[in-house]
């Protein structure tokens, strides 16, 4: 009974922790962008201000029920994913889920967004969401290959087992030292899944007016800001769990997560954007090739 209560508490607490860490990841992203452009950048609490302000805005614009539900699906998919991602001290229901379940859950937000944006009948939104689904189709293939390669190597789809194996053996047994090729392909897929430049085809502010976000204001946009913080958190924690041995304690865990995220972000703000077909061609060629080579190394 006591353990059930503890699990319930963890499942409630983990998304909250993820949200706060995710907001600081957004802050780091904006700070890094500012530093690369030789600016000072936003103050420490800026992501909090943004989210609170957006939820404090008044709006009576509604594009229908599906539009509202779509946003809830987008945030809810990530909230569910957080309870499957073990963090130091909290495992939640990770032993019941595993990475296959996680891979499913991280696809739900894009689908929810597609449902919601489809209802608002803005052509920019429709273009944006079709591009978002195209890019999901592109990065999911290397992503799934990498996940299955790692699962094959550790002989388990359970994230807790994967992390325990890596922590027991030290740095030499970390995914990144045992499967460097897969790790590179994974980083590539992670970068594409974040939707940052050069893979920014579906946001594209100057081209399609931020695509899926075009009709979102006030609380809807606030929901998307929350979703973005969850997205950054989920992507980096999953990568850290698969390749960098998870977290022994909160300090090393957070250091690893922020370091992993900093790599794609630093690359992102130096590049313009690919076209849709170029993105699909690039992502289906290089990371998939690397991932397949990595899987071949793992299997031999």
């Amino acid at each position: 009974m006591n353990e059930t209560l503890l699990t319930i508490l963890e499942v409630i607490f983990m998304p909250v922790v993820a949200f706060v860490i995710g907001l600081f990841m957004v802050l780091m992203m904006r700070k890094l962008a500012a530093r690369l452009q030789r600016r000072v950048g936003p103050p420490l609490m800026q992501p909090f201000y943004d989210v609170i302000k957006l939820y404090g805005k008044q709006t009576q614009i509604s594009h229908g029920l599906i539009h509202d539900i779509g946003i809830i699906m987008a945030v809810g998919g990530y909230v569910a994913a957080e309870s499957l991602l073990p963090v130091p001290g909290m495992d939640g229901i990770a032993d019941k889920g595993g990475i296959v379940m996680l891979a499913y859950l991280t696809m739900i937000p894009s689908l929810g967004l597609a449902l919601g944006v489809g209802q608002c009948a803005n052509p920019n939104g429709s273009i944006g969401i079709s591009r978002a689904l195209t890019s999901m189709l592109a990065y999911d293939i290397p992503y799934i290959i990498v996940i299955f390669g790692v699962a094959y190597h550790f002989g388990s789809t359970n994230l807790i087992d994967i992390i325990d194996t890596q922590q027991a053996g030290g740095v030499a047994t970390w995914g990144i030292s045992e499967m460097p090729v897969l790790a590179i392909a994974g980083l590539f897929a992670l970068h594409a899944s974040l939707g940052k430049q050069p893979f920014e085809i579906y946001i594209a502010p100057a081209e399609i007016a931020t695509g899926p976000m075009v009709e979102m204001g006030g609380k809807y946009l606030g929901g998307l800001f929350v979703m973005q913080s969850f997205q950054l958190y989920t992507a980096s924690v999953l990568y850290v769990s698969l390749f960098l041995g998870g977290g022994e304690n909160w300090i090393t865990f957070l250091l690893k997560c922020f370091a992993v995220l900093a790599i794609p972000i630093i690359i992102a703000y130096l590049f313009p954007r690919y076209r849709t077909e170029d993105l699909v061609r690039l992502v289906w060629k290089w990371p998939v090739m690397l991932a397949l080579i990595g899987v071949a190394f793992v299997m031999t």
């Binding site: 950048g41 936003p42 609170i52 302000k53 404090g56 009576q60 502010p205 931020t210 075009v214 204001g217």
Partner: protein, 231 residues
């Protein structure tokens, strides 16, 4: 109603709530509003050229939490940077009405104050305040980025103290603004946004919301129809 009379009108600000916790919450939301302003990437006239230096590395507006957004739905502040021709004014009004409340309008350059050097032009709207409620003017031809930043900080201060609520004026005195708009655009003028309905929803209906001009609007108003999809 003349301009002077309009300026004297005070919007009945919401009375302070009795619950002290609710007051703290209201203060927090106001503070966050002042520290996070998304401005619409829609600039008119020549003053727009002063904004890139204000946004980029020299002056960096992001320090104050101001960042550009691309659609009216996402934005909080509408910058009118310079003269507004009558054709542009139509688009400005459409844009303004689509923004979610609370929304703020900043008039940059002298042209928005009194027409500036376009005073004698037949195709330029002279005083922006007759068509939209303006929260803040930044005078100058054109104001330097320092002046723009200073103006932004003043707006932040006004939002923090709760003074910047001219968006309520648009709802409570819609008849006046609509009258001026009809004078320029003709009696067939209508926008896709139902301002009277919004005023009811925000509980901002005043004695000046409806009047002779809204009667004309209600006579000519056609219901919106979805655009036909054609390839």
């Amino acid at each position: 109603m003349t301009q002077n009379e309009l300026e004297k009108i005070e919007i009945s600000t919401q009375p302070k709530r009795t619950n002290p916790l609710a007051n703290v919450f209201d203060d927090l939301v106001r503070f966050c509003r002042s520290r996070s302003m998304f401005m619409l990437h829609y600039c008119t006239g020549c003053g727009a050229i002063e904004l890139p230096p204000a946004m980029t590395s020299r002056f960096d507006m992001e320090r104050l939490g101001i960042q550009p957004m691309v659609t009216p739905r996402q934005a909080d502040i509408l910058l009118i940077t310079g003269y507004v021709s009558i054709k542009t004014l139509k688009r400005v009004i459409l844009t303004y009405e689509q923004m979610g409340s609370p929304k703020y309008v900043i008039g940059i350059c002298s042209c928005t104050v009194n027409g500036g050097m376009y005073w004698q032009s037949y195709a330029t709207a002279k005083k922006l305040d007759e068509y939209l409620p303006v929260d803040l003017y930044i005078a100058g031809c054109m104001p330097r980025p320092e002046a723009v930043m200073e103006g932004m900080q003043q707006l932040m201060q006004k939002i923090k103290t709760g003074e910047a609520d001219s968006w309520k004026k648009y709802y409570s005195h819609y008849d006046y603004y609509l009258g001026n708009q009809q004078q320029l655009f003709g009696n067939n003028w209508q926008t896709p946004t139902d301002i009277i309905g919004e005023a009811e929803s925000y509980q901002l209906m005043g004695p000046q919301t409806l009047g002779e001009h809204t009667k004309i609007l209600q006579q000519v108003q056609k219901p919106l129809e979805p655009l036909e999809m054609k390839l």
